[in-house]
Each structure stands twice: as structure tokens, then as C-alpha cells.
Amino acid sequence: MEPISKDRFKLVGLQQQGTDNVAKASLTFWQDVVRRFAKNKLAMVGVVLLVILVFMAAFGPLMTEFDYRSNDLGNKNQAPSAEHWFGTDDLGRDMFARVWEGARISLFIGLAAALIDLFIGVLWGGIAAYKGGRVDEGMMRFADVLYGIPYLLLAIILMVVFGQSLGTMIVAMTITGWINMARIVRGQVLSLKNREYVLAARTLGATMPWIMRKHLIPNAMGPILITMTLTIPSAIFTESFLSYLGLGLTPPIASWGTMASDGLPALKYYPWRLFFPAIMICVTIFSFNVIGDGLRDALDPKMRK
């Protein structure tokens, strides 16, 4: 045994009252979420695509001298060229201008649907959970019954009856869309209502609005955000679906759905008339979906790998 200097065997005793604070500086929940989200390559691709899309929706129509509505029958069905970057349609309208105009419409429809769902859902689910008992039972049963209605069928009927306007379309999308949000909000409120720290806060005299702000909203934020992110692509899909059935928005509004369904029969001769709106629909649905998935993975540490 190598000799060891004796003074190193001095008794020094407990060096620390607790080692709890030795752990690495812990990130706050949302910092952690952002970090995990940023590591998800697919989700980041989605974010980049979405940023481009939003940028082009804002400024795309300004980049070309053509207006999305002006017909030019002398120049119909032109292939993409230096003049008409995405070509022209059967009325000689510039597809580049129309596609970005369509981006505005689609994003607007998606956002509007998501926000209305959020508003009704939070109100409905929040009140049901907060009141509890028979009120809760009644409100949620009503939602169940409504949920049983196939929503695209309902959307079709509404479009037929009330005419093909932007307003009808948004109503059609939200008439059953809010139910999911209401269920999520209700579930979150219920589980939080009985959580120990909320009970603790209540016994300490915290008021309900304070608890809502401090505990409920941060906790319910995640699932709500995911649901909203996934509402937008489904709204964009519904728009194009209804347009395809001939129940879409009426001219001169340029929506991707109407452009794509106008372009379908011309696929063989003028493929760009389908290609550009179709690719926009796919890319938008794709980016919202991967962002939603990324959020879900980032918010649910159980699935963290």
C-alpha cells in the first residue's frame, strides 16, 4: 500500500447541508419544451415552411404586377414563364397572385376556425367543469350528442342551405369543431381542480381567477395549443373538400380548394393549374401537422426519448 499523508485523513464531516441544489440549473417547463421542440428536425422543417408561407401570403401578391382577379382572355392557360411565374388559369388570371391570395384565405379560415373553437371550447368546457354536477352532465351530454353528427355531412348541408360564403364555411367548420376543445379544457380543469397544489392554493385563500391564471392556464396551455395547431390543417382540408364538391367559395375569391378543383379536369394539358394550389394545400397541411406533432412530443415528457 502506498503511504498516504496522514493529514488527508482529517475528519471533515458533513460538507453540505443538502445536495439538492447540486443538480444542474433546471430549465423552466417552457424552456424545456422549446428546447425539445427545436431538436425535432421535422417540426423545424414545418416551422420554416410555415414562416415562408406566411411571408408569401403577406407579400406575395405585391411581388407581381398582376391582380388575382383581372381576367386576360388573350393569355389564358399560359404555362409558367418569366411573366407569369406560376402560369395563368382558364380566364388568364395570374396563378402566382392567386396562389398567395389563396394562402391568405386558407390561413384566415384555419385561424378563424381555431380561434372560434378555442373561444367556445374554453367557455363551454370551463363552465361545465367549474360548475360540475348536473350542469356539467347536461352540457357534456349535449356535446356528445352533437359529436355524433358526421361533421362533413353537416358542413355540406349548411353550405347548401346558407349559400357558399366565407362565413357559412367557418360556421360549418366550427359547429362541431369546438367539442374537442371543450372536452380538453374540461378534462384539464377537472384534473387541476383536485390537484394538491390547487387545493393548497385555495386553502391559502387564493381566488378562483388567480388560480386560473397561475395554475390552470399554464397547465392547460399545452393540449390547447396542440389542438389548435391541428384544427388549422383540418380546416384547410375541409375548405378544399367542399370546393371540390362545388360547395366552395364563389368567385372572385381565390381559394386553394376552388383553384385545385378548377385545375383537376385540365390536368392533362395544363398541369400547373392543379400543381400549384395542390402543392400549397399539401405543404400547409404538412407543416401544421408536423408542428402539432412536435409540440405534442415536446409537451409530453413521457414520450421523450
Binding site: 500500500m1 498516504i4 496522514k6 493529514d7 488527508r8 485523513f9 482529517k10 475528519l11 471533515v12 464531516g13 458533513l14 460538507q15 453540505q16 447541508q17 443538502g18 445536495t19 439538492d20 447540486v22 443538480a23 444542474k24 421523450r304
Partner: protein, 355 residues
């Protein structure tokens, strides 16, 4: 006695986002035939990882055996492929887990879950396997086994589920049973029943048992020898008497002092071990226990202590056993237990294989 299992310098780590967690850091121990070894430690001490590594049940990746050997009957399990391990698992070595609520398949009847083992390892046909299953359930003390085999796990109580798990583990007459905290999730009254059952069956079948627990009270009841684990290492190992009546490692003192006992006078309060275990992504320099040690020496923060031998069977990994170390006063709660054991050496010596 004949050795059944020899673990030599086993290291296991897990790759995570935050870096590589060294869950097991060079443990060595032997297990003799028919013997019960208890592995004791806090959660996160690596005891479960160590035991699951013996069966190679840790998910790989992210888990990885970075060093060492696991000799089972002279065969190195570390080198075996997953296909080769299938012949060992359930047949030579089997395992029961902590939570009987989740370790049984909820959508499969209990009978088939036991028969699976018999069909796989003993190649029994359906009707014979069924007979044997009923026999096994009776053996582990489940009443009306003919009826029980057609029930699902949710129709069993916690204790009954753990009995069923034991039946699964024993189905192919294994030579080694690893029990990973088998009583932690159970009610106290059920705990002792299950412990008795395991002890009883061990004697009947003559298998060896590795018993993982954080509860020293359980250890005294079932084990022949005890290994105390801290931060992925074995810090002290010895017979039950040696660990209970002549503990040498300050961590073992801590464990004993924090254990309530019936004969405790109200003067002697329970003593806690301050702080929490270290982060094993970056194991501390020196003795991993040093920051929480009331008896820490200066050298503990610089150099890892070697394993000292206290008797033929008793080893401890602490600088306090160095001839130059100061003599320390044991905690009151431990002091009352300590007695001179005849087998102890006059002076601790460095264990063989340590420089």
C-alpha cells in the same frame, strides 16, 4: 459452496440527452447455490439496473454494458446474443417485479400467462401445461386455482397478483430468482406473506435468490448476505449479521440509523441521511458518498476509497478503514446494535485485487 453467479466489475450506462448516465459503476459480487443475497440501496443507486442487467432486460440502446462479466454457471451472459438469452430467461434465471398491478398482461387470462413459460421451456403440451399451472398456483397459495386460471389480472388482488407472478417465475424451476422489490407495492400484512412464500419456496426448490430492496427490515428477514449499493457501486457487503451488528461503511450506518425498530426507546430519534444521491452523468471525484457523509474525511473528496476486507465475508469501501483514519463515534442508533463478531479480522486489510 459452489458459486452459481459471479459478477465481475460490471459497468452499465445509459445514453440520454443530458449525457451518459453511469448507472452501475464496476460492481463485483458472487452468489452461491441456494443462497439469498439482498441488494440494498436508495432509488437510483443502480440496484434495479444491476439486477436487470443480469437477465439483460435493460433496453439496449439506450442501455449499454460497457465493461465486466456476468458468469452464470461459468457462462458469460454479457457475450450472449438476445436469441441465446431467450433460453436463459425464465428457464435458468427468472424475475419478479415491483408492481404486480402492471407486471401482468391485463388482457390475457392468468392461466395462459403461466402456461407460456411451460410451453416455451419445458415443451409441455396444452393439457399437461394446464395441469402444471394449476399445481403451480396451488403451490404459491392461490385458492381455487382451477377457477383462477380463467380470470384476468384485474380480478386478482395485489397480493394474489404477486403470487401469480411468483408462479410465472417459478414455472420452469429456475436456478436463480431475482426479486426486484417484490413487496414494496403491497400492503404491510401481505408483504410478510409474500416474503414467507419466497423463503419457503426457495427451500423447497433449492434455488438462489437475489433480493432487491430499499427496506432493511425485509433484508433481515430473508437474506443470507447483504450488498449495500450507493451511486452505482457496492459500498459494503457481508453476511446479515455483519451488516446489522458490525457495519463499517458510513452509508450503511445511515441506512441502519434511519430504520425504525420496535425496541427503539424514544430517546433515540431516527437519523436521516442528508441530501440526495449524486448525478451519475458526472459522478463526483473521490467517494461518491462524501458530500452526504457526516464522517467524511478530507481524502474522500479527492480519491475513491479501495475495498477493505473486514472478515472472510465482509468488505467495505471506505477510507475510514484505513489504518491512518481517525476513530469515529458511531451514531447512537447504530452503536446500540454493534457487537464484536468472532469472525472479524483484528484489523481491516485491503481486499485482494486492490492495489
Amino acid at each position: 459452496m459452489e458459486k452459481l453467479l459471479e459478477v465481475k466489475d460490471l459497468c452499465v450506462s445509459f445514453g440520454t440527452h443530458g449525457g451518459e448516465v453511469q448507472a452501475v459503476r464496476g460492481i463485483s459480487f458472487d452468489l452461491y447455490k441456494g443462497e439469498t443475497l439482498a441488494i440494498v440501496g436508495e432509488s437510483g443507486s443502480g440496484k434495479s439496473v444491476a439486477s436487470q442487467t443480469i437477465m439483460k432486460l435493460i433496453p439496449m440502446p439506450p442501455g449499454k454494458i460497457t465493461n465486466g462479466e456476468i458468469l452464470f454457471d461459468g457462462d458469460d451472459l454479457v457475450k450472449k446474443t438476445d436469441k441465446q438469452m431467450e433460453k436463459v430467461r425464465g428457464k435458468d434465471i427468472s424475475m419478479i417485479f415491483q408492481d404486480p398491478m402492471t407486471s401482468l398482461n391485463p388482457t390475457m387470462k392468468i392461466g395462459p400467462q403461466i402456461m407460456e413459460v411451460l410451453k416455451k421451456h419445458q415443451k409441455l403440451s396444452g393439457s399437461v401445461a394446464k395441469e402444471r399451472t394449476i399445481e403451480l398456483l396451488r403451490l404459491v397459495g392461490i385458492p381455487m386455482p382451477e377457477k383462477r386460471i380463467n380470470q384476468y389480472a384485474h380480478e386478482f388482488s395485489g397480493g394474489m397478483r404477486q403470487r401469480a407472478m411468483i408462479a410465472i417465475a417459478l414455472a420452469a424451476n429456475p436456478r436463480l430468482l431475482i426479486a426486484d422489490e417484490p413487496t414494496t407495492a403491497l400492503d404491510v400484512t401481505i408483504q410478510s406473506q409474500i416474503l414467507e412464500l419466497i423463503k419457503d419456496l426457495q427451500q423447497k426448490i433449492g434455488m438462489s435468490v437475489i433480493f432487491i430492496t430499499h427496506d432493511l427490515g425485509v433484508v433481515a428477514n430473508v437474506a443470507d448476505r447483504v450488498a449495500v449499493m450507493y451511486a452505482g457501486q457496492i459500498v459494503e457487503v457481508g453476511t446479515v449479521d455483519e451488516i446489522f451488528y458490525d457495519p463499517r461503511h458510513p452509508y450503511t450506518w445511515g441506512l441502519l440509523a434511519s430504520m425504525p425498530s420496535l425496541d427503539m426507546t424514544d430517546k433515540a430519534e431516527l437519523l436521516d441521511i442528508p441530501g440526495t444521491p449524486p448525478d451519475l452523468t458526472n459522478p463526483p471525484k473521490g467517494d461518491a458518498f462524501a458530500p452526504r457523509n457526516r464522517y467524511a474525511l478530507a481524502i474522500d473528496f479527492e480519491e475513491e476509497p479501495p475495498m477493505f476486507q473486514v472478515s472472510e465475508t465482509h468488505y467495505a469501501k471506505t477510507w475510514l478503514l484505513h489504518p491512518d483514519a481517525p476513530k469515529v463515534e458511531l451514531p447512537e442508533q447504530v452503536k446500540r446494535r454493534v457487537r464484536k463478531l468472532a469472525a472479524s479480522f483484528d484489523k481491516p486489510v485491503l481486499a485482494e485485487g486492490e492495489a
